[in-house]
Symmetry: C2
Subunit: 402 residues, 2 copies
Amino acid sequence: MVKEGFGELIDLETALQLLLSHARTLPSEEAPLSRARARVLAQNVSAKIDVPHFDRSAMDGFAVVASDTFSASQNSPVALTLRESIACGEIARRRVLRGSCAEIATGGAMPSGVDAVVMVENTQVEGKKVLVYKSVAPRTNVVARGSDIRKGETVLQKGTVLTPAHLGALAAVGITTVSVRRRVKVVLFSTGSEIVAPGKRLGRGKVFNINSVTLRAALEELGCEVEDYGVVKDTEREITRLVLKGVRSADIVIFSGGSSLGRSDLAPEVLGKLGSLLFHGIAVKPGKPTVAGVVRGKIVIGLPGYPVSALSNVYILVAPLIERMTGATGITRFTRAMLAQKVASTVGRYEFLPVRLEGEFAHPVMRGSSAITTLARAHGFVEIPENVEVVEKGTPVTVRLF
Amino acid sequence: MVKEGFGELIDLETALQLLLSHARTLPSEEAPLSRARARVLAQNVSAKIDVPHFDRSAMDGFAVVASDTFSASQNSPVALTLRESIACGEIARRRVLRGSCAEIATGGAMPSGVDAVVMVENTQVEGKKVLVYKSVAPRTNVVARGSDIRKGETVLQKGTVLTPAHLGALAAVGITTVSVRRRVKVVLFSTGSEIVAPGKRLGRGKVFNINSVTLRAALEELGCEVEDYGVVKDTEREITRLVLKGVRSADIVIFSGGSSLGRSDLAPEVLGKLGSLLFHGIAVKPGKPTVAGVVRGKIVIGLPGYPVSALSNVYILVAPLIERMTGATGITRFTRAMLAQKVASTVGRYEFLPVRLEGEFAHPVMRGSSAITTLARAHGFVEIPENVEVVEKGTPVTVRLF
């Protein structure tokens, strides 16, 4: 009744490379800027205009010929003739000649003939004359045409995960829609006759379905579009049916449960029959009993049923897959901290260590792979490589933030 | 024609306290777990059940009376009678007596009478007998009832910004919908006759509307629901009309442009007439010409027109306001780095310094408050307090991530 063990475990890096070798880059689609936040840019964007596309005043004040002001001082102002006033968005009606000036608002277009702006604080208006109390060098208080973005320049690189400021740079060059990668479509389901939907009656021996909730949320945070098929029985027939249904519409099919040892261990068998099995069992802790295969060209991943193991594998296995499929650079965020206590790790197993950040310290919070509170109390995780046995207290570590 | 200056600038902390004193906590609403990601919990949640709510096996193997195995060794196994097999989700039909055992799957409910699980790897099945090759202490490989979450325990605190793992903890105790704060509703508009919608023809002296795009995206990242009224002329009539329209539906009205000096400086006047002016001009760099008031009980903020100044004020002024209105703790993310170069700052002005992260270094990228590329190249910002004149190269700094 009891089956054989996993055989040799594959290491995380090899497992990842196997998965990535079957990942296909998704097609692109157009998105308006108002809906492009956090999407992945599908091609480089270059500027078709200079930004600003004219010399602008950086201050409220008076546009002048700088050399006219060279002799100005607090005691001996220079008097210039006020020719006109230029509001933002207007253009000067005439060229400003030596000995004269134009009132200009912050952001206003510099008239021709001038090369600097005197701040309003350093002037005094008297009728048609403007007294200038401070000299300015050429180009003072002027934002030069093209100084923000130069025409032809690459504004953003392909693979950029669009932040508010990135969207602003696109708007600055007049772009309204942008080519982004289609979202990764993921079909999810949970297997196991012990799993009950939250809200239902919880009989003895049963547990509520945690993975549907956590995996959906984590995948959505990674930018995926998720369809949840719910909970099914851990039978060959059911898993086969949902994997085949899933690969028709999704880019990745992910299910949890049913990939450990024992009677219910059907996942590797099903994947082997339906397509090709890539691996069964990874040298990671937690998350060892993970299985992956390719069915009809689509990646199918069977995660362990335990909530911490299932979710940790989304962060360490599925996130890199999504980055590959979308070409995203920087989909995840990191911080640096010092390990608050000594941690012993198993040599030969990559360890996913959840930590809670307090000040500059990262406190390990591992309470077991079945305990969802482990992750609920953590702010992120530290990765301990296979060949490390002990990480000393005070070691600087990189924390991948949830 | 040119108006008076700002008068005395208010410091950032005082400006914030003024704003916060007018912030009202938003009402709560129910959200299903599948749509509660990144929402703010409106009340503490306590567990109505133990998790797990029965003793569970942590391994595939055999549930035993631990003391039966004490004499077991590799050379001299103990033989136990196999009574039954318990799959996940099933419950044992009978009590396991001394001298016998039950096959059990990972996650299965421990039958009564037993107190430990022997891993399958340490056993051999021979007909109706199970040979146990390794002794186990009581409680070995058993996940005790309530060890993850104890009935009555506070699972999550009010104010928690819900991560995938938090949602998992809620699912674990059988919760399907959760009480979260309503999203903050923000009405946005841009003023200025120089502003042109991206995609339109850009005449001389005009610039594309960047703020509508960046402010919407930044506010959405902070969890707000944003309605954009678009671009209006910088006239008293238009600003009055849109502020009054905005305060009817929104919790906060934010507009950009029209709050610097010069002829077009209408915002403080309008806010003073419609309600009460809180401040005009903050001692921050960039972002000084910011105005705020209260109109019909709602906070109205006029941000500078320059894109960097407008967006930086969302991070330093509006984000804390949103945290107050929703009670959120930890809406923003930080990392630590070392400043890559010496930075001189103006004493008496709080400075918002955009930085680009490379390895453990934070490189300042400030190129001027009109240059959107400043922020598009940054990963976050460092805050330099008012009383600091110089931050030396190599200083450890906290970087607020975008």
